[in-house]
């Protein structure tokens, strides 16, 4: 009679208990059931769970989120996440990326995998239409900065109101000049804002022409005394960014302005929402 090794049974049970989640990287436009090998977060095997002609790219993991207080660890996870999405993107040309740490849970053996399939099934139409929307396209980041010192200086030269006040200050005795200086600062602040408004609208209109779709993101803090006045994500056919690049170069050449142009990224900003 064959004797079952108790330790083996124990290990097998533990493995099942510990792997009751599926970490999702992306959904792709293919029903192929493939494995990518051990390229996942912490060396996990990445494979595809198909439903009809689409599939979810996943790895097996415990049903709990990845978390760490160590920034370097998190950075490495995020980079790996991105590498996996890139690998799928290269292979199938069209991906719907998920954000880091999206894990579909399961309660019993095999139920996580079923839940992934059920999710693909339920959302099938929506996923297909998202796939069509981003087919063959990539996302590019466009951030426009200005140097407030240069802009303020130019405004001082070109705005008659500011020039007038500036001259008044020169002629006034100290005490009064202080009050005027405050007024001048407020005036500059206001004019800077309306200048930023004007630039935003102008640049947006120019950039819009070269992008299939566009998302306006929150502006971020910038370094070296610069201010970000515009933060966009643009959806464009892969490698058809030349015209946009030329337009951005023109903005980049303006005095006091600079542009950051990044990508191609998987279309993260265009697959959210309903």
């Amino acid at each position: 009679m064959e004797r079952i090794d108790k330790t083996e049974v124990k290990i097998a049970t533990e493995a099942i208990v510990e792997e009751q989640g599926r970490y999702l990287y992306c959904v792709v436009d293919s029903g192929e059931k493939v494995s990518f090998g051990e390229i996942g977060i912490e060396g996990k095997e990445v494979y595809a769970i198909p439903y009809r002609d689409i599939c979810a790219v996943v790895h097996n993991c415990p049903a709990q989120p990845y978390r760490s207080d160590d920034q370097e660890v998190v950075k490495a996870w995020v980079m790996t996440h991105q590498k996996v999405v890139d690998t799928a993107w290269e292979r199938w040309d069209t991906v719907l990326p998920l954000s880091f740490d999206t894990i579909i849970k399961g309660e019993t053996e095999g139920s996580a995998e079923r839940n992934v399939k059920d999710w693909l099934k339920q959302e099938y139409e929506g996923l297909k239409s998202k796939i069509e929307k981003v087919r063959g396209k990539a996302e590019y980041g466009v951030q426009v900065f200005w140097d407030p010192r240069v802009i303020a200086q130019n405004l001082t030269r070109t705005s008659p109101e500011i020039r007038k006040l500036d001259e008044e200050i020169r002629l006034k005795p100290r005490g009064l000049a202080y009050m005027c200086r405050q007024r001048l600062e407020n005036l500059i602040k206001r004019e800077m804002e309306s200048k930023a408004d004007e630039c935003f609208k102008d640049f947006y209109t120019r950039i819009r022409k070269h992008a299939g779709d566009i998302r306006v993101e929150k502006t971020k803090k910038a370094e070296q005394g610069l201010q970000m006045i515009m933060n966009l994500s643009c959806l464009i056919y892969k490698d058809r960014h030349t015209e946009l690049g030329e337009e951005l170069e023109k903005i980049n050449q303006l005095e006091g302005f600079s542009v950051r142009f990044t990508g191609p990224w998987p279309p993260y900003s265009f697959v959210g929402g309903a």
Binding site: P97, F100, M192, K221, G245, V271, G272
Partner: protein
């Protein structure tokens, strides 16, 4: 100008996307990570929106205003495109 994706220079751009964006899944199905401080404070700060009013004041309200303008502009264009039968 050419787009770049050098892994060091564009790390923040990558984090921005991978941490906050992407396909959304029905919350019942997934392990909730909302409110869990996943990453260190410094990394978050680099990602946070511009929050201080700077010396020459491009202000938060301005930032919000431009986005309102954009969404109205977009609606108008969609309307125009629909009318034009595009």
């Amino acid at each position: 100008m050419e787009p770049t994706r050098n892994s060091h220079a564009t790390l923040v751009d990558l984090l921005d996307r991978v941490l906050d964006k992407g396909l959304v899944i029905n919350a019942d199905l997934i392990i909730s990570v909302a409110g869990v401080p996943l990453i260190g404070v410094n990394l978050r700060a680099a990602l946070a929106g511009m929050e201080t009013m700077l010396e020459y004041g491009v202000m938060k309200e301005w930032d919000e205003r431009t986005r309102v303008w954009e969404s109205e502009h977009r609606k108008k264009n969609v309307g125009a495109n629909l009318k034009a039968g595009r």
